[in-house]
């Protein structure tokens, strides 16, 4: 009897092992620790690989094609429904082509994509950030130029939107939205105290003081996910030094970071910190955790990208309480309220190593067009492509975002993707030191100028 039980147990263990091996073998999309939503392999319901001789696209590819797409539109991301619908549309329009969509969390994706580029392990189409972030990808010649494919879509997508995806005069990627940084605020809490959205830094300080007097910390922020802190600092710098100066200094074209306007911006951030306007414990809170405090009405203000408009509708119980405004101006000699941080940063690129360049190049644009439309309708992003569909259903906050974006006098890419990777990394590290108080604004500016070789 004992021998028998041993055999049964042994057999059971072996079966368990085999099952766990095969179960893990399927999805090989990696995802590291932080995200609670890991990877999704969405095969958008296309089961018609049986439809054979349909001539799908201009490539006349009669056999079944499978394209792999990597993005950061995880299930909790505001763009996820847009991507899913875009893929479904594409597969319906192109029978025989299947798109396998793998998603990764934002921070860990930055590591993942760089590894993939270095290891020649790129999927056919992948998400990346335009500007300095992808510069090395282009220089390494692992990305395909897309000028020919853009030609088919040039009347639907303004070439200016592709500015951040153009390197050395060639277009290397396509975009779908032009997010901007905005000051989101809880209008209900403002109305209760008779406050309106600030348009200058002085007004902003008054608003903050009013909340502090009531025992409420006014501004939510995350320092652990340093890009959130960077968004506020970037915006202050833009509204202090103006778009041309910022662009020239950060792309090392002319000028130096060690400049009174830049120092003024950093000093303003320190002022906000010292008056206690930023939430305590921001250094230990992730963006998700900090945003929650905003959605549930604990803090009345949050500066981040316009995608928060969509999240407010999904994550808050009282979305009608919220409103948004452009970020206050520090120096109106240099900057206007309509100068925005942001622009077309989200980019889809095609790997040079793809087996189906024709299909992939075309797919990148078609997918971008669909994501642009659906994300706009969902409120996740402002459409970069021309809008020729019904806009009446779009939620009020999102319409306001679009109004702000169309009234913009300039767009400046966020610093950590505008600068090339080495400088961007140093910027974020120095920003943390500034926040903690290890560096004064003057020292910060000096260190940045040092890093940029100015």
């Amino acid at each position: 009897m004992k021998v028998f039980t041993k055999k049964v147990v042994g057999l059971f263990l072996v079966l368990t092992l085999i099952m766990s091996l095969t179960a893990c073998g399927g999805n090989d999309a990696g995802s590291t620790g932080n995200s609670t939503d890991t990877d999704t392999s969405t095969d958008s319901g296309s089961t018609d690989s049986g439809s054979t001789d349909t001539d799908t696209d201009s490539g006349a590819d009669a056999e079944d094609v499978t394209l792999t797409l990597w993005s950061i539109a995880t299930e909790s991301d505001a763009f996820n429904p847009a991507y899913t619908k875009a893929i479904a549309d594409y597969e319906a329009a192109h029978p025989g082509v299947t798109i396998v969509h793998e998603t990764f969390e934002n921070e860990s994706y930055k590591t993942k994509i760089k590894t993939a580029v270095a290891a020649n392990d790129l999927p056919d189409i992948f998400f990346t950030w335009g500007g300095g972030f992808s510069q090395a990808f282009v220089e390494s010649e692992k990305v395909m130029p897309l000028d020919d494919y853009y030609a088919d879509f040039s009347d639907e997508l303004n070439e200016a939107a592709l500015g951040n995806a153009t390197y050395n005069g060639q277009i290397y990627g396509t975009t779908y939205s032009t997010p901007v940084s905005l000051l989101f605020y809880n209008r209900k809490m403002f109305d209760e105290r008779g406050l309106t959205a600030p348009t200058t830094f002085e007004e902003w300080k008054e608003v903050n003081q009013a909340f502090l007097d009531d025992g409420i910390t006014p501004i939510g922020i995350s320092v652990k996910d340093t890009w959130v802190l960077a968004m506020t600092h970037d915006a202050l710098t833009l509204k202090s030094a103006g778009p041309e100066k910022v662009h020239n200094v950060l792309t090392k074209t002319s000028g130096s970071y060690n400049d009174p306007d830049f120092i003024n911006a950093s000093a303003s951030l320190v002022e906000l910190i010292e008056m206690g306007a930023l939430i305590e414990g921001a250094a230990g809170l992730s963006n998700d955790e900090a945003s929650q405090l905003f959605y549930n009405g604990t803090v009345p203000m949050y500066i981040t990208g316009s995608w928060m408009a969509g999240s407010i509708y999904t994550d808050s119980e009282t979305p009608e309480d919220f409103d948004l405004a452009p970020i206050p101006v520090l120096n109106d000699a240099n900057a206007q309220i309509t100068d925005f941080m942001g622009g077309a940063s989200d980019t889809l690129m095609v790997a040079a190593s793809t087996k189906y360049p024709e299909v992939a190049g075309n797919a990148a644009f078609e997918l971008a067009r669909s994501v642009s439309k659906y994300a706009y309708l969902d409120g996740a992003g402002v459409a970069a492509w021309n809008v020729d569909y019904d806009e009446s259903d779009i939620k009020p906050l999102v319409q306001k975002v679009a109004q702000n974006a169309t009234s913009a006098t300039s767009f400046t890419l966020w610093f950590d993707t505008l600068m090339e990777a080495g400088d961007a990394g140093e910027y974020l590290a120095l920003l943390q030191e500034l926040y903690i108080g290890n560096l004064t604004p003057e020292e910060f500016a000096e260190a940045m100028a040092d890093q940029l070789g100015q």
């Binding site: 620790g33 590894t115 090395a136 220089e139 652990k224 590290a429 926040y435 890093q451």
Partner: protein
């Protein structure tokens, strides 16, 4: 058996698969890293040969942070050897006495070792959360509001806050090694000492621990080398922040390579870690040898 041992071809043949794997997976990449550490390279585009500049930069660059990360790693190593191994030794001695439920407790103490570091990290992040975490809630309920902090976000507390789960996780591992070591000491020695009137503590001090020296040597090497290489817990909890307060060499390496596209610099950090681990392993072996004889 002797025939097999003497037959050279047989030896080579049987060792071949393991040797090939070992060389290709461990030795070759180390040499490749060594080569990359002499380059100024971002991993993707063209590389420029710069010789030992990366290594010089490690120690002289003000914003580099390598020296600070080394300091943190050494602090971790020190805490590992004293706190972690000390606790493991006490537990092993207590359990090996042969009381009831011994096997049960050994298993229970070993469970943290088996849980994924990332899971433990996430768990402790919730414990350390400034708003609803266990620690701050407990402090508030006792009226000690002024002691509450952002444990993972405060420069002063981040390092220790990160080390505690790390030390906690592997106590069971060392305890198991020592427990096995204690069990292998012939009980006749202990009984003889008991007959001579030695107390439990004296037995532990004069008989068990000296005879445990080989196991202790292994444990110390593991603890120190593991501390120099520590990565996942720190990455999950703070990613080296805030402002490099909890930076260790491996997190610095990852941020340099992936955040700043400095593959060459990162490789030089990797080679330094390997070198230091090797150096300390040899040092510890020597230190124990003079005692054990």
């Amino acid at each position: 058996m002797d025939k097999v041992m003497k037959n050279k071809t047989a030896i080579i043949l049987f060792m071949l698969p393991a040797t090939v794997l070992f060389v290709s997976i461990i030795i070759v990449p180390i040499f490749m890293s060594g080569y990359y550490s002499l380059l100024d390279w971002d991993g993707m585009t063209e590389a420029t040969f710069i010789g030992l500049d990366n290594y010089i930069g490690l120690f002289t660059s003000r914003s580099g942070g390598f020296v600070k990360s080394l300091r943190n790693a050494f602090i971790l190593a020190g805490l590992s050897v004293t706190l972690q191994l000390g606790l493991a030794l006490i537990l092993a001695l207590a359990l090996a006495k042969g009381r009831k439920g011994e096997r049960f407790f050994v298993t229970v103490f070993f469970i943290p070792v088996m849980i994924s570091t990332v899971v433990i990290g996430q768990l402790w992040m919730k414990i350390y959360n400034p708003q609803y975490g266990l620690i701050n809630m407990a402090l508030r309920s006792m009226g000690l509001d002024n002691l509450t902090r952002t444990w993972l976000g405060d420069q002063d507390t981040a390092l220790l806050a990160v080390f505690i789960p790390l030390l906690w996780q592997y106590v069971g591992y060392h305890m198991l090694l020592m427990y096995a070591g204690i069990k292998s000491i012939p009980t006749s020695l202990r009984e003889a000492a008991k007959i001579d009137g030695a107390t439990d503590n004296q037995i532990s001090r004069y008989i068990t621990i000296p005879l445990l020296k080989p196991v202790l040597q292994v444990c110390v090497i593991f603890a120190v080398v593991g501390s120099l290489k520590a990565f996942d817990m720190i990455y999950v909890l703070t990613n080296g922040g805030p402002a490099h307060a909890s930076e260790v060499p491996s997190t610095l390496m990852v941020s340099r390579i992936f955040l700043r596209n400095q593959y060459g610099y990162g490789s030089s950090i990797a080679i330094m870690i390997i070198f230091l681990c090797f150096f300390f392993a040899v040092l510890i072996k020597k230190a124990f040898k003079t005692e054990v004889d």
